[in-house]
Symmetry: C2
Amino acid sequence: MGERVRESSVLLTGASGRVGRAILGRLGDAYDWRLLDRDRPTHEFDHEFVVADITDEEAVAEAMVGIDAVVHLAGDPRPEAPWDSVLANNIDGTRTVLEAAVEAGVERFVFASSNHAVGGYETEDRVPKLYRPPDEFRLDGTELPRPGNLYGVSKAAGETLCRYYHDESGMGVVCVRIGNLTESHPPKDYERGQAMWLSYRDCAHLFERCLDADYGFEIVYGISDNDRKYYSIDRAREVLGYDPQDNSADHIDD
Amino acid sequence: MGERVRESSVLLTGASGRVGRAILGRLGDAYDWRLLDRDRPTHEFDHEFVVADITDEEAVAEAMVGIDAVVHLAGDPRPEAPWDSVLANNIDGTRTVLEAAVEAGVERFVFASSNHAVGGYETEDRVPKLYRPPDEFRLDGTELPRPGNLYGVSKAAGETLCRYYHDESGMGVVCVRIGNLTESHPPKDYERGQAMWLSYRDCAHLFERCLDADYGFEIVYGISDNDRKYYSIDRAREVLGYDPQDNSADHIDD
């Protein structure tokens, strides 16, 4: 169960998005990055940059050459995205990236799933006490998906595709159900967002652990160590060695 | 928790397939059926028959007018079906049928899922003892999907869509993970098929229960009461009142 050598080549899809920024801001020098995004970058990156759409099988296969690990963030990120978009970008697109990764012999695949894959658990009788520290309700990643929107449906489908490609190929795959990622400060006046806050620092650390740890197939929650939480981070701690430093409770009176 | 009146109008998609035959053979007179299939029927049906593709939103919406319940069997049924086909027919098509059903105020929706949604649990260390009576391993519908093929991925995605549309609308939805349906006799020399055998008689009875019982959202296994089994039928018994009469063990020496 050795640590990975840091010379590994990592393909980061959806590199220009917010999660990509959180990762590259702290891990830019830690791996040999190949960035991929649908649009030309609006600023300079210190890494190879491939402009390609993840629904383009040929372009994705080409971007996968020589890659050891994939962090797959690309997709329509809007919770209110229409079905046709999440079907094409998030379901079909994720399948294209997984297929290319297996073909290329990639060893680790990190999939950006979402809290929206399980948003339906926030039922009327649970909310808002679910968001407050004394409440003991926890989701831990073993529960069935229960999306609150079609975007969440697409992320759950992506997780099932990940499970299938792991079983087929042995490629290590971890699905991270990312919470509410904001820079420096958790969202204000938004209990739900405080409960699932993920700081930039903890986000980068979590993805670093996803790239360096050994695992088979995992579904983990990506949140900081918030007092308020209804997502367990036990599995991320145990399997990945995730050790978050931030807690939304430390910021609530800021 | 009253029984449904039997005058209910039921839309049966994929009516010309094998499951449709098992259902209509015994329940042809029990409901007011509207049959739908992509192809013109090759024999006469005693019911209204709509020729339409479930990926055609307008045609599906039209077929849904005046319908109380839906049995959704349509889709590419091949375990080895290619991704593009299951993406279009089984994922996108199921979403089209669900959306139309909710729009039309349908009360009950029965989704033909499949054992292939969880085929990946049949791992090397479990098989073949999994298929034999003393083995205690059971899947019960609460486990995460673990498909053995892309067809299974598409059925798992259909289940997640069902969950979402149930949560959104309150429409009662049951997903039936259908086992190995064969007429009169379980498959010979195929332990897996014997373990998940579903007789035509039990199949019709199960779908009748799905149309008549009251439920919110359920995932159940559709198999006979086989001595050999690794799927639990407890939930189908409890919630639906399923009372299977057949057992593959009674036929093994036939």
